[in-house]
């Protein structure tokens, strides 16, 4: 059941990314190009997605526990620290160069454009490296 519903959740997410235009880097870059060829469509993606999740989460949290797991595991951190902001800034720069964020990059992989075939492995290496930096700095208390 977990595999089936995990797959269906991913499929719906991916179709949403494609339908919305998030999976087309040209559209993402035009959303970000406020002083050029601005295409505000992606504001509707973020709005539709977060409003739907805002309502749906509150319905989901009425359950004692999730349907297929023992408990809810929701982030509890609320500190706005250097790691959060520097990570978000680095991500923003990468997003502005390539037009891909992680979900759309996965959905674009089977289309096999050369840029995607380079982007996804680089992203996976980056995630691995970023997690190492994060855990190292947690131990030493730097950053």
């Amino acid at each position: 059941m977990r595999l089936l519903f995990g797959f269906l959740s991913g499929l719906i997410f991916g179709i949403g990314l494609i339908l919305s235009g998030m999976a087309n880097p040209a559209k993402v870059l035009n959303f970000l190009d406020i002083f050029g060829t601005w295409d505000p469509s992606l504001a509707f993606v973020m709005g539709g997605a977060s409003l739907t999740a805002f309502i749906g989460y509150r319905l989901a949290w009425r359950q004692d526990r999730p349907i297929l797991m023992a408990d809810f595991d929701i982030p509890s951190a609320n500190d706005i620290d250097v790691k959060l902001l520097s990570g978000a800034a680095l991500f923003g720069i990468g997003w502005g160069i390539g037009g891909f964020c992680p979900g759309p990059a996965w959905t674009a992989l089977p289309i096999a454009a050369s840029g995607t075939l380079i982007f996804v492995p680089a992203m996976l290496i980056g995630i691995w490296a970023g997690r190492r930096v994060k855990s190292t700095s947690l131990k030493t208390g730097s950053v």
Partner: protein, 146 residues
Amino acid sequence: MLPVTLTDFTPWASLGGGILIGLSAVMVMALFGRIAGIVGITAGAVTQGDRGWRLAFIAGLLAAPVAWLLVTGDFPHQTVSENLPAMAIAGLLVGIGTALGSGCTSGHGVCGLARLSGRSLAAVITFIVFAALTVFVLRHVIGGAI
């Protein structure tokens, strides 16, 4: 960096796609009690004990363009930069940044804003500002030279 390609304003398709993304996030919360952050799911699929549903979720993401092909007769329309060094750098920055910042457009943008997390709001504002600045510099300052 892509050569500038004009795109149409598509508010209804984008709103519909956004609602599907939100529904998926709600499914992940109601079924698994987890945040539908793509980077968290990707990293968890490799490292964490309960990796089955996460691998299945990624398989679902990969199946989406195939489903699109089966229904519409064509792969989704997209324009991806062919500047491979730039795409390698972009991928590295996206990976490092989202891992260090504990989330991406889905984890902080969709799920975090839905939870009214101040931390996620700060991340979203930061990454959108830096992404817009990057596009501004590449397109309007150095003229899309890379």
